[in-house]
Symmetry: C2
Subunit: 223 residues, 2 copies
Amino acid sequence: MDHVRIIEVKQSVFADNDKRAAQLRQELKGRGVFLLNLMSSPGSGKTTTLRRTAELLKDELKIGVMEADIDSDVDARAMAEAGVKSIQLHTGGMCHLDADMTRQGLDELLAEGGVELAILENVGNLVCPAEFDTGAVKNAAILSVPEGDDKPLKYPLMFQVCDVVLINKMDVAPYFDFDLEKCREYIRMRNPNAKVIPICAKTGEGVEEWAGWLREQIRAWKV
Amino acid sequence: MDHVRIIEVKQSVFADNDKRAAQLRQELKGRGVFLLNLMSSPGSGKTTTLRRTAELLKDELKIGVMEADIDSDVDARAMAEAGVKSIQLHTGGMCHLDADMTRQGLDELLAEGGVELAILENVGNLVCPAEFDTGAVKNAAILSVPEGDDKPLKYPLMFQVCDVVLINKMDVAPYFDFDLEKCREYIRMRNPNAKVIPICAKTGEGVEEWAGWLREQIRAWKV
């Protein structure tokens, strides 16, 4: 499949990441591009969630996705198969993306213009990506049911920096000891403002609510 | 519960981690302590696997466990409740443990003597822990079925540095698109020498084989 572009993003040497992230956010605003940063553990369902999200939003918004991974191009292939403009970012072993690495990806993704919603699927990692502002307008995290309801206790920063937490794989809840109310409470302890939306990306459950939340954020940001 | 000790391990400033790890390994050999480094994504079942392992081995080996987390003490509590000597290591936000941080934990765990099998439950992260030699004799990784069979493609280093990969949560395999043979093949691509053992820590399936493998490694190392 030759329409998957792979971009090798270089680790940036800039200590002033926060400043660079703020600059990038400002520039994107000027270009009318809303950047979403999607983070989670490996295998929580980021790509499947994005496929579902694109199905719901692609008729109203031009979407472009950057799939960040240390290696492989399976995610960019999956998105391209779903008819979504996507590129693969290889991080050269790096465990996260910072603002400058994100900019390198955006340079490619936005080159032809037209993208209104750019989504960064960050490296699967519940620790390091939370430490770096990528320049995104909003941060989203996915926590999947099989990972357990105690993750906000163990990985505090991820839940502190998120605007929204999607609890994915709700379809398998009967087979796991996952207490949704307890999980909501732990997220609230870390971040009382985070929106929590239970979903199942596989069946589509809850994805309407998530797409609605995202639509609302984009609308508010454009004003 | 007052018998959970929490140790704040400080990020080490040593560039020569490999040398320090080799030194630590040598010292542990002199003291007759086998150190196992257990790594995985968040929520793959490290703690549950260790509880099962301890049940099988605790009558023949004195076991001590170091539970590394950024925050919380839920894992050390769980191990203590299972009657296993355990301490909690807090990494102060760090995404991994290096040899010096591991040594800080061992100083506490081994203070009273007697431990023959020391286990480091590393921070839940499929990226960074693989980059640092902790001084362990063997590295083990857990990959759980809900994470997906493609993880060795996306997180190459973790599978390269592992001596054994436990495929956990086999009980829920019917509810996920997880191809065990494909997963074995991907692991083999990264590391033809890695032993692969499917288990279910919840039901105990496969844990005998894993305990047998570990027993064998300890025996070989003691010679």
